[in-house]
């Protein structure tokens, strides 16, 4: 009995610590980062779920953004908080469209974005999006020319209140309709969108390109030689 009570106590304390840690952090915190603050073996994910449900009816909500946790105000209270609105970054139609293509098709190269839009993308568009912090350069595609691949950031998820890339509206429907995979001419591939913390098989880190490029060339030359 007293053991159980002790356990309960510990659980309460762990909950309180998690709560405070997330509250003071300027950025969403990952389960791993939180685990490091508690004793080993504590089931942080379970505690976070409990916290989330503790807050479910409150004005503040515990939300998960790609596995990272933060407190955010409940969206239905927006009318009462207008005073605190920040100046909205207004995106042009082109930038909106490009952002959507990057979000749904990531990792995606500039050429692939252009293929979807049927038109060249001015570098200004990508610059603007990179500046918002919503997209980032992920790596390079393991393909001729080593094009840079783009994807969305945690800030993107936070900005649009998405728990993960999988929560993008209508993602499943688009996938089901085959709109996110390549039924296009062979020279064009549409990568599938997933939760993409790590690089895909056909991606290499941004800074690795030089060595790999050399390897690549050597290989090609070998093939060309026909031995």
């Amino acid at each position: 009995m007293s053991d159980e009570q002790a356990l309960d106590h510990e659980r309460l304390d762990d909950l309180r610590i998690l709560e405070a840690l997330i509250f003071v952090s300027p950025d969403p915190l990952s389960v791993q980062a939180l685990s490091e603050e508690l004793d080993e073996g504590v089931d942080v994910s379970a505690l976070l779920e409990q916290l989330k449900s503790d807050y479910s009816n409150r004005g503040i909500q515990l939300v998960s953004l790609d596995g990272k946790w933060a407190f955010r105000t409940a969206t239905d209270l927006a009318p009462f908080l207008t005073k605190y609105k920040v100046v909205k970054k207004k995106l042009t139609k082109v930038a909106q469209e490009t952002l959507a293509i990057i979000a749904y098709h990531q990792p995606v190269t500039r050429a692939e974005i252009e293929d979807v839009r049927g038109v060249q993308t001015s570098s200004g568009t990508l610059d603007v999006l990179l500046e918002t912090g919503w997209i980032k350069m992920r790596g390079r595609r393991r393909a001729p020319g080593r094009p840079i691949t783009y994807g969305t950031t945690d800030l993107f998820l936070d900005q649009f209140g998405l728990g993960a890339v999988d929560d993008l509206p209508g993602l499943r429907e688009l996938k089901g309709a085959g709109l996110l995979d390549g039924t296009l001419p062979a020279n064009f591939e549409v990568p599938s969108s997933q939760r993409l913390e790590t690089l895909m098989d056909d991606e290499v880190p941004l800074d690795e390109d030089i060595d790999e490029d050399v390897d690549h060339k050597v290989d090609n030359e070998g093939d060309g030689g026909g031995f």
Binding site: L21, A70, A78, K88, Q96, A100, V119
Partner: protein, 292 residues
């Protein structure tokens, strides 16, 4: 190749069908928020921005939308016809058209021909007209979907707009502990350098012994005063120094003093030849006059 940007302005020709007119308005307003409706509706003058369209695919989509057709249901052949007509119309009015719009028009002509012709003798590798049409339909559908998702994303509650983070993250109190590092080598180097420096600092500059000309003259006159014999200057110098070897300064000053004294007529100097010993002796009469 980047799309040629053209901004076209023309007066709406009276013979242009009304539907076209509608389409322009509709497209222009749906395309760009930047253009205000007033400008567009201004009588018969229309601002046409072909670069308001984001490329031929966008134009195709706009044409399809004009017909309010579900893109999945649309007849690509019809759409192609419309596009070609549209481009031809623009050409009639001698408007410059960006190359990629023309390329698309040409491709659509090709597509139409493929769709009309029976596909019997086609080469295996090249896709059939139906396949090409399906690909175009796919691209249109995909573009439309992405466009819709862009709007949907923007319509979502956003951070800093509809929901908010904590006003001021308090942050965590950081206590930093300083851990000093040093290598033995650094210590030894520091110690040695310091010791060496100390040795240099402790070095006292010895006072240089300078035999002044005045001193040499005094000595010389006291020595010569005793004798009016010719005396070799080397020996005189040696007698100054006692056991020590004569210093350069003594030699130089003594020589200087002899020249001075000779000038004053106090002594006489003789030398048998270059580099031969120098002899001096006092001039007796002058000494007398000095005594007076």
């Amino acid at each position: 190749m980047p799309a040629l940007k053209l901004k076209l302005e023309f007066y709406l020709p009276p013979n242009l069908p009304q539907s076209r007119n509608d389409q322009w308005e509709q497209d222009a307003s749906s395309q760009s928020d930047e253009l205000c409706a007033d400008e567009l509706g201004a009588e018969d003058r229309l601002l046409v921005e072909l670069d308001g369209f984001e490329g031929p695919l966008d134009l195709l989509l706009a044409l399809a939308r004009e017909k309010k057709l579900d893109i999945s249901q649309i007849s690509i052949a019809d759409l192609a016809t419309q596009y070609i007509e549209y481009i031809n119309d623009l050409k009639k009015h001698r408007l410059e058209i960006a190359a990629d719009y023309l390329v698309m028009a040409a491709w659509l002509v090709f597509l139409k021909s493929k769709l009309i012709l029976p596909s019997e003798e086609e080469e295996e590798e090249s896709p059939s007209g139906d396949q090409l049409a399906a690909q175009l339909a796919f691209r249109l559908k995909r573009l439309e979907a992405m466009r819709a998702k862009g709007h949907e994303l923007m319509a979502r509650p956003q951070l800093g707009q509809e929901f908010f983070a904590v006003g001021v993250p308090l942050g965590r109190n950081t206590v930093s502990k300083i851990e000093y590092k040093a290598e033995l080598f650094d210590l030894l180097k520091a110690y040695s350098a310091q010791q060496q420096r100390q040795v240099v600092q402790g070095y006292k500059v010895k006072r240089r012994q300078v035999w002044s000309i005045k001193k040499a003259r005094n000595r010389l006159s006291s020595l010569l005063g005793m004798s009016i014999e010719w005396a070799p200057i080397n020996e005189l110098i040696a007698s100054f120094m006692g056991a020590e070897a004569p210093m350069k300064t003594t030699v130089a000053s003594t020589f200087g003093a002899t020249l001075e004294m000779a000038r004053d007529g106090v002594i006489e100097i003789k030398q048998s030849g270059p580099f031969q010993p120098l002899y001096v002796k006092s001039t007796p009469n002058v000494e007398e006059s000095a005594d007076e």
